[in-house]
Symmetry: C2
């Protein structure tokens, strides 16, 4: 693919206006979609979240057809790849006020990330991040462009064997991974952190919650401590690109005492992995 | 000025790579400098904050000479204007990890904002924002690009008579305005909110703290409630462009009970206004 086909700004090959509020203030939202055979998976969940995010931030939603057209153009002939869609409030102006112009749409095509295959089949090692994710109910759940917390948390480790870092709230509840949502299973029940104070409401998280409802698997959005995770029978992570990664071990460097922080790939993870396919 | 002289990206007229981490994640910092007769005021305070911000976020500082060169080029013949400098971690990559490339420098020239002259001489009306600014010690004090809280707070009001909105912490302490720092004076003492959990450490705020030290005016960085502000003899706001605005009235629509939320332009504000000139 030529560069011109890999990035569309408002539907045209191009670069971004430096005055764009996405750059100036992180005043926008994004979606990261998996393409399989050039077609986006779970497209409806991504479109619904983007539209809801625009509504919550007061950004004009560019319209599904417009966004879908960008995705289709980038996806044509792409095979297995990743499309990222950014929608910002507008270009222009200095100062927090303003942004009455048209929203900016930036669609980019990326190579599928080369995570080890064993991470999905045998599970991953995760760690606890030192950075606490701030409580901000106004932004909770949104996939917005203010992601310095995730950037800084991801900079805490360099060990290639560690796939993800878990983030806790100031009060010590596990919220999410830097790029994923967290699920625990205990006695046949699925548990996942509530996201009313922070975190991104992932599309696969939504899908799993819906799957559990359809499959009559008890499932609860709740507050989970690290100790709750350690007592779980299964632990797994979800995001749009990875789908589901079982967690096989929590790196214990920062844990108080000696915990048996290891899990098998459990029956619920297997069922969900199969259903996701 | 032609467009090419109003925006420098890495020292050249240009646009921004859509992969830039400033856009993707708000992964960067900014400075807004006043130009008087084409020369930046309080330049050293801006450079020091930018360099410290880069160090705290782990972004390579582009170097003072490089940044100063951008400012000088934009300032040449500009008269009274505003220069905004953005430094982002790097262009390229998808995912929170990465950004090992060179930092991006974006320097833009803007018209001086046309605030009413009476706002500096007679004071402004401010309001209390409903949005609570989140506690995030890791980012507190930094002028980083994650500014959705300020954008959303500024969207709370449309009344042109209201110059600024004050933001409180989740525990109800006043932290800052959407674009300014807050000072109160009581019995000859200056008080300003501590910024160890949130807020931007403004250059004029630093200047005032230093002025107070030099002038033997007692001054304290502390926790201030709205009630503390209401009991103050003077109240004023600072930022790099406005310098100092006395507050003449706190819009009472959201205050419990009836408060005499009005202040004169007091002696400390007058002294600081004079010293700032």
């Amino acid at each position: 693919l030529g560069v011109s086909e890999r990035c569309l700004v408002d539907g045209r090959a191009g670069t971004v206006d430096p005055s764009d509020r996405g750059l100036q203030y992180g005043d926008g939202l994004f979606e990261t979609l998996p393409l399989i055979d050039g077609r986006a998976r779970r497209l409806e969940l991504h479109m619904a979240r983007l539209e809801e995010g625009c509504a919550r931030l007061g950004i004009a939603f560019p319209g599904r057809d417009t966004v879908l057209s960008d995705i289709a153009r980038l996806g044509a002939g792409a095979g297995r790849a990743v499309v990222k869609i950014i929608v910002t409030r507008a270009a222009g102006g200095r100062g927090y006020r303003g942004g009455d112009g048209e929203p900016t749409r930036i669609a980019t095509l990326h190579a599928w990330p080369d995570y080890p295959r064993a991470w999905a089949s045998e599970g991953v090692v995760v760690r606890l991040c030192a950075l606490r994710i701030a409580d901000q109910p106004v932004l909770a759940g949104l996939k917005h462009l203010n992601r310095l917390e995730q950037v800084l948390a991801r900079r805490e480790w360099h060990d290639e064997e560690i796939a993800e870092g878990l983030l806790c709230s100031p009060r010590g509840h596990v919220v999410c991974g830097t790029m994923s949502n967290v699920f625990a299973a205990r006695a046949g029940r699925l548990l996942t952190p509530r996201l009313d104070r922070s975190g991104v409401a992932g599309t696969v998280r939504s899908w799993v919650l819906d799957w559990a409802r359809r499959s009559a698997v008890p499932c609860e959005e709740t507050e989970l401590t690290v100790e709750d995770l350690l007592r779980a029978d299964e632990l797994f992570l979800t995001n749009a690109i990875i789908g589901l990664w079982p967690v096989k071990r929590l790196d214990d460097c920062q844990l108080p005492g000696q915990w048996p922080a290891r899990w098998p790939v459990g029956p619920l993870a297997r069922r969900i992995l199969q259903a996701l396919d």
